[in-house]
């Protein structure tokens, strides 16, 4: 340890003066501090009571979210590579599939982090506040919600919109109304629909020259469901297209990079819940909301209505981005309500609205993103309502 630690400290100690007030690189101080504290965790003396502090800080907090994102991220790389090689008739052994996946996915992730960090850093430099660790989560969440064929310039445009409009103009981390990663995705979704939906975006294939990325056709379960004959049993239609419940659960099918495997997302959810980082109330509320609404639609099913009405509600949990959204996006503490009962309501309504959009609205095959953004708007109102109720229970003391 000491062998790495000592030269690092010397390096940072020598560079620090250049970032002090009045020196040439004063504006870059947030970058310097972010780098330094990444390597050397700071030891800052406590000034005020209490004189001991909990070991949990935001670096640890966000690291755990990143750790929980690893299962869907790694599986997404594998899955993307698998489908790319599969349609080309290439061998699908693990190493070459994973390598292929890395070649397709990593540029998207790197562009997301790079461009996002530029904006985060720019605002930090101007406002002279520290670079927030929350960005590390946004920068990875966003690529995982994208189809693998997404053009890189659109990734850059999306994360720019997400960080600047979704977060920084509200005042930065902690003050944003919308989840920045979802804002970024919503921007791409509405601005460039051709590259975000349809049948031709889900499989990335490199041509023989080895670098350009082209797309082949393939329909996601959500697209199939939207077109299915209302008289047919929709579970059977899924199975005919290769989407059995097992496939949907394990995730070896086409879709956005990180959202296909419900199993991997479940592992991530367990990490978040075991460490107490994400709210179980929101997740459970979301699942209950989706199933309840699904059952409600089951009740109204008829041959005149779309096939979605008749689906077993459990399918809602494993198709599309539902699991990913409810586990990673809805539980963002900044944009979710901060009070316990409101979290249940918030989660429930996200589940319900997601299913509502899916089943009833033919224009949008997927509703999770819209449901979460919609409920983000209401989260301050829910907080307000619950705080009023709680305050009313207090014996006034003025």
């Amino acid at each position: 340890m000491g062998r790495i630690e000592k030269p690092l400290r010397t390096l940072f100690d020598r560079s620090r003066p250049y970032f002090e007030k009045g020196r040439r690189m004063e504006r870059l101080k947030p970058f310097f501090e972010a780098t330094e504290t990444f390597f050397l965790y700071p030891a800052i003396p406590v000034k005020n009571q209490p004189f001991i502090r909990d070991s949990l800080d935001l670096k640890r907090y966000m690291s755990i979210v990143l750790a929980a994102l690893m299962p869907p991220f790694l599986f997404g790389i594998y899955n993307t590579g698998f489908h790319a090689r599969n349609v080309s008739g290439l061998s699908t052994d693990f190493m070459s599939v994973f390598g292929e996946g890395l070649i397709i996915v990593m540029p998207i992730v790197i562009v997301s982090y790079g461009v996002g960090l530029f904006w985060e850093g720019l605002f930090a430099a101007i406002r002279r506040h520290p670079i927030s660790e929350g960005f590390l989560v946004t920068g990875l969440l966003f690529p995982l919600t994208l189809p693998p064929t997404i053009p890189l310039w659109q990734v850059a445009a999306g994360i720019t919109f997400g960080v600047v409009i979704g977060k920084e103009i509200f005042g930065g981390t902690g003050r944003n109304l919308f989840n920045p990663a979802l804002t970024a995705r919503a921007f791409i979704f509405f601005a460039y629909p051709v590259q975000m939906s349809g049948d031709r975006v889900w499989v990335a294939v490199r041509d023989t020259a080895g670098n350009a990325v082209d797309a082949v056709s393939g329909a996601t379960p959500l697209a199939i469901a939207a077109l299915a004959d209302p008289k047919a049993r929709i579970e059977a239609v899924f199975a005919d297209s290769g989407y059995t419940f097992q496939t949907l659960f394990f995730g070896n099918h086409i879709g956005s990079i990180g959202e296909t495997s419900t199993l991997c997302i479940l592992i991530g959810a367990l990490i978040l819940l075991a460490t107490g980082i994400a709210s179980y109330r929101i997740m459970a509320g979301g699942v209950i909301g989706a199933i309840a609404t699904g059952l409600l639609f089951n009740y109204f099913q008829s041959p005149d209505l779309p096939a979605w009405f008749s689906i077993n509600p459990v399918y809602h949990l494993v198709t599309g981005g539902f699991a990913f959204g409810i586990v990673y996006m809805a539980t963002d503490p900044v944009t979710a309500p901060g009070t316990d009962r409101a979290k249940w309501v918030y989660g429930f309504l996200i589940g319900a609205i997601a299913v509502l959009v899916r089943v009833v609205n033919p224009a949008f095959p997927e509703g999770v993103m819209l449901a979460i953004l919609f409920m983000n708007i209401f989260s301050p109102l829910m907080e307000y309502t619950e705080t009023r109720l709680r305050i009313r229970r207090r014996i006034p003391n003025v």
Partner: protein, 449 residues
């Protein structure tokens, strides 16, 4: 007897509690009064450098209420008066003479006390320098006689882990304690005595006057917490309180006709404390901190804290004990940055969360005055709310304070806050929540009074 139990708070296992044994401290050559440790008063000096004083001579008074006088804890010469920021008086040092003279007050025996009414008791206490021992909720300032409090609380064991246990200071002083309570009863306010479940009182005389029993981790025994959990209406918000050990001072001061200066202090060093350090010391009011340690030189370089781990303040090794302080604590200071500290599994990183391996095996840990992270914006995680013993939604109350919406903050329970510091302890964004609420509350008090 009423039971008050608090479940919401979190137990924090800090190593190095003082042993419940008392040892006589050495004779001291100087003592001091620390006016800036008494919250919300504006001191006016009544002595100057070089003056000769006796034990019990007035040293300073409150400009706003000149009848509140603070008496000298030592007899000898005033050798130094130190000023701090904006000429606030920080320290009045008295070098004690060979033989110390006492100011003489008229002794009030139990029978005489029984015949006194409220105003007479208050006057008698004020003249003898004992009135400042009675403090008032919610501002935790010295009680004002024109207040009409609903109750007076005496909590025997403030559960900050480094205070003198009641078993220690009550031993042999049971009749004195009871007579102190009898004097307090003359104030015409119901007096409630709380014992802690963890430190049950044995003496039958005291058992007979105990009205409440508290259960649960820190800060269950705080008078503010007990009041919050027992009050039925807003009328009960205004209450007075007194520390258990201070009741002994009151009784002694009234009966003896002298200003009582004897105090038992808890001394502990978390981490490398030895039985020679971690114990209670019988010493006097305003004693120099170094006199409480067997070998003060070895303790330099550590963090010295007086008044408790959660509510105290940093002190210098050449400092003194303040009027309300009965504990001296030495803990480690933040030292070196740690390589990739936030990525470690953290079997020995104390936390109330479940984000480190420590959560699987919670054992006693060494206190360290380390922020364990950097300040960030609030992310609304709600951990502060989960630990608040008086159900304040701290994250929202803090934002009200931040936006200077005092009315809103009051609705959230700004005045119920007991300054326990648990919200600040758990905050992952390292925001000084308790400090922000305390500062605002004090500013509100100054505005109103």
């Amino acid at each position: 007897m009423k039971n008050v139990s608090i479940k919401k708070s979190l137990g924090i296992h800090v190593a190095g509690r003082p042993a419940p044994s008392v040892e006589d401290g050495p004779a001291v050559s100087s003592v001091a009064a620390l006016p800036d440790h008494i919250p919300l008063i504006k001191p006016r000096l009544l002595v100057k450098k070089g003056d000769a004083v006796n034990i019990g001579s007035p040293l300073f008074e409150d400009k706003k209420k000149p009848w509140i006088r603070f008496l000298s804890p030592g007899g000898g010469t005033v050798t130094d008066i130190e000023y701090g920021h904006r000429r606030a008086i920080t320290r009045i040092v008295i070098e004690t003479g060979e033989t110390e003279e006492h100011e003489a007050f008229e002794p009030v025996d139990e029978k005489a006390a029984k015949g006194m009414d409220r105003d007479q008791v208050i006057d008698a206490m004020a003249v003898r320098g004992l009135w400042p021992l009675v403090r008032s909720l919610p501002y935790r300032t010295i009680a004002a006689p024109d207040e009409k409090p609903a109750s007076l609380w005496v909590c025997l064991d403030p559960a900050d882990p480094f205070q003198v246990p009641s078993t220690v200071y009550l031993k042999g002083n049971e009749p004195l304690f009871v007579s102190g309570i009898r004097i307090l009863e003359r104030l015409g306010v119901p007096v409630y005595v709380c014992e802690s479940e963890q430190v049950p009182v044995e003496s039958p005389d005291i058992r007979a006057i105990i009205t409440h029993r508290t259960a649960g981790p820190y800060p269950a025994e705080d008078p503010g917490v007990v009041l919050y959990h027992t009050k039925k209406s807003a009328v009960e918000n205004r209450a007075w309180f007194m520390n258990g050990q201070d009741v002994l001072l009151l009784a002694e001061g009234m009966a003896s006709g002298r200003y009582p200066i004897s105090r038992i202090m808890a001394v502990s060093a978390s981490g490398n404390g030895s039985p020679a350090v971690n114990r209670c010391v019988k010493t006097r009011l305003g004693a120099p901190l170094a006199s409480l340690l067997p070998d003060p030189e070895t303790a330099r370089g550590r963090r010295w804290i007086t008044g408790g781990l959660f509510r105290g303040q940093t002190a210098e090794p050449d400092g003194f004990m303040g009027f309300y302080e009965t504990s001296l604590l030495l803990i480690e200071d933040a030292a070196d940055p740690e390589l990739f500290g936030f990525l470690k599994p953290g079997a020995r990183k104390p936390t109330a969360s479940r984000t480190f391996l420590y959560a699987l095996h919670k054992k006693e840990f060494t206190a360290k005055a380390d922020m364990r992270g950097e300040e960030r914006a609030c992310i609304n995680c709600g951990k502060c709310e989960q630990v608040c013993p008086v159900d304040i939604m701290v994250q929202f109350a803090y934002k009200c304070v931040y936006a200077e919406e005092i009315e809103e903050a009051l609705m959230h329970g700004l005045l119920d806050c007991v300054e326990c510091g648990l919200c600040t302890y758990v905050c992952p964004a390292k925001i000084e929540l308790a400090e922000a609420l305390k500062t605002t509350r004090r500013a509100y008090y100054e505005d109103r009074i």
